[in-house]
């Protein structure tokens, strides 16, 4: 077993254990942190596959941004575990069906040679000086530019929608506008009064 295989199995073990703890941890904050660990190790595995751009982006986007906001919300919520567990049995059939489907898919992928699905040749080894990032950027902005732009538009619309849904102007709030406060000049606030001294 060479070193690379060892690293792969180490990452894989950590990832599986972390994912298991995500669904078994009783405390939602602990679960979220285990999910962070799972993402991080997934990034490591992708790095092993020489997909360094995807690996780093995974860490940057999911660990650095998405999970932070997730933790933010989970920490503030007062989560009642008993109420969440109430629906366990009613959701079990659906969950089990999805789980079985995933197992079936994984069996087909992993047993590809048994089912005669390995007609795709293995990709050739990357040449020296090959940059994952450059290649991805080239493909995204030339060949797949329209789907890419479309996806970004969809995201933009979703962002605007999220803001529009949560933005409510309540009446009677005493919130202040920092831009106006910064624009204030001395003469708006203080009046210099020149007063001659008075004699007794």
């Amino acid at each position: 077993m060479d070193f690379k295989t060892f690293v792969f199995y180490m990452f894989a073990t950590i990832m599986i254990l972390a994912s298991l703890r995500v669904i078994t941890a009783r405390n939602p904050v602990h679960a979220a942190l285990f999910l962070v660990l799972a993402f991080f190790t997934a990034g490591g595995i992708w790095m092993l596959l020489e997909a360094e751009f995807l690996a780093i982006t995974l860490v940057m986007v999911y660990v650095g941004a998405v999970m932070v906001l997730f933790l933010f919300v989970v920490m503030m919520l007062d989560i009642n575990l008993d109420r969440i567990r109430e629906g366990f049995w009613s959701y079990l059939p659906l969950g089990a069906a999805i789980g079985l489907l995933m197992v079936a898919e994984m069996v087909i992928v992993l047993g590809g040679s048994y089912f005669g699905l390995d007609s795709m040749p293995e990709p050739p080894a990357a040449a020296a000086g090959y940059s994952n990032t450059r290649e991805l950027g080239r493909l995204l902005y030339t060949e797949y530019v329209y789907p890419f732009e479309l996806a970004s538009l969809v995201l933009l619309v979703a962002m605007v929608a999220a803001v529009a849904l949560t933005l409510r102007h309540r009446k009677g709030t005493k919130s202040v506008n920092p831009s106006q406060q910064i624009a204030v000049k001395r003469n708006d606030r203080v009046r210099m009064v020149s007063m001659p001294t008075e004699k007794e």
Binding site: N27, H30, I56, G64, V68, T133, P178, I182
Partner: protein, 349 residues
């Protein structure tokens, strides 16, 4: 050199690459720790003189042993875990705050070829690793099971996530003009240009064509490290010390070290990305590591100066600056640079 090392290489056999990497890591981390320790002294001295005081001058000559005395004191103090705390996370919190800052130094080039990991996606790696810093604050704030740390953690999470965006866009400008994510290449690219050919290298560095980005990056860097005037995370007057309230001894020291290590890191990044790294400002002086050190020290002085000068920002002002000022500026400048690069006036051909 190779002949000298050969017996050692044979001794370790196949584990030699691992040993050699560990040696290099220690060679980076050990001086860095000393730098971090003495930055705390420098801060107290600089702010002291700015406030017409002398600063620490009792321990050792000129107070030079003060950081060591502080370190020993913190090491000997008991780490108290509050009774209602989530114990595991309470201990992991400070480690999470300190470790990413050290890990980021792996890709920082100190001189031509003097870098631990000369990876092609160095800038991306830095962005990813520094985005982990926020976990230390959030986790410790939550695990303390106390109100002030929690409020501090919430503020920190919002602030760090907000300023990461403008920082990221400033980096996008840099990598657009250098067409590389490799930090060494980014420095080398700054050594070319019309002014560099005239012998005035410092006018070819990125700070001049990307001047607004330089300012945005530095200010965002101060905000990312939670330094004054962006230190509402600690906010002594309102929330005592934020996420660090419940920590004592070495656990507190880790937060403290993490903050100063982050200052070194941000200053090093600013000098590498915008001030030409180890390049000499004029052609008749040789390039070298000392230039990087001088630039970093100058930026660190700016950090301290800012702390002694500005009052703490109010929280809504911080959010306004991040989202309503910096992000529009950086987005506009990304487009300006893109158009500039494609126009005949481009200076990066």
């Amino acid at each position: 050199m190779d002949g000298l090392l050969q017996p050692v290489v044979d001794l370790f056999g196949p584990t030699w690459p691992l040993v050699w990497t560990l040696v290099k890591i220690v060679a980076i981390i050990a001086p860095l720790m000393i730098c971090i320790a003495y930055l705390t002294l420098a801060e107290r001295k600089v702010i002291g003189y700015m406030q017409v005081r002398i600063g620490p001058n009792r321990v050792g000559p000129l107070g030079l042993l003060q950081p060591i005395a502080d370190g020993v004191k913190l090491l000997l103090k008991e780490v108290i875990v509050p009774s209602g705390a989530s114990k595991g996370l309470f201990i992991i919190g400070p480690i999470l705050a300190f470790a990413p800052v050290l890990a980021a130094w792996a890709v920082v080039p100190f001189s031509d070829g003097m870098v631990l990991a000369n990876v092609d996606a160095g800038l991306l790696f830095l962005l990813a690793i520094t985005s982990l810093e926020v976990y230390g604050v959030i986790v410790s704030g939550w695990a303390s099971n106390s109100k002030y740390p929690f409020v501090g953690a919430m503020r920190a999470a919002a602030q760090m996530v907000s300023y990461e965006i403008s920082m990221g866009f400033a980096l996008v400008c840099v990598l657009m003009i250098s067409a590389s994510l490799n930090l060494s290449d980014i420095v080398m690219q700054q050594g070319q240009g019309r002014f560099a050919d005239m012998g005035l290298g410092f006018l070819s560095w990125n700070w001049l064509p990307l001047f607004p980005m330089f300012i945005v990056f530095m200010v965002s860097g101060i905000a990312e490290t939670n330094r004054a005037p962006f230190d509402v995370v600690e906010g002594e007057s309102e929330i005592v010390a934020g996420h660090m309230v419940e920590y004592s001894g070495m656990a507190f020291a880790l937060f403290f070290l993490g903050e100063y290590a982050a200052m070194w890191l941000v200053s090093a990044l600013t000098s590498i990305l915008f001030l030409g790294g180890w390049l000499s400002p004029v052609s008749f002086l040789p390039d070298g590591f000392h230039w990087l050190f001088i630039k970093v020290a100058a930026i660190l002085f700016l950090f301290l100066w800012a702390r002694a000068t500005f009052p703490r920002f109010r929280y809504d002002h911080i959010m306004r600056l991040g989202w309503k000022v910096f992000i529009p500026i950086t987005l506009t400048w990304v487009i300006v640079v893109a158009v500039w690069m494609l126009s005949p006036l481009s200076i990066w051909k």
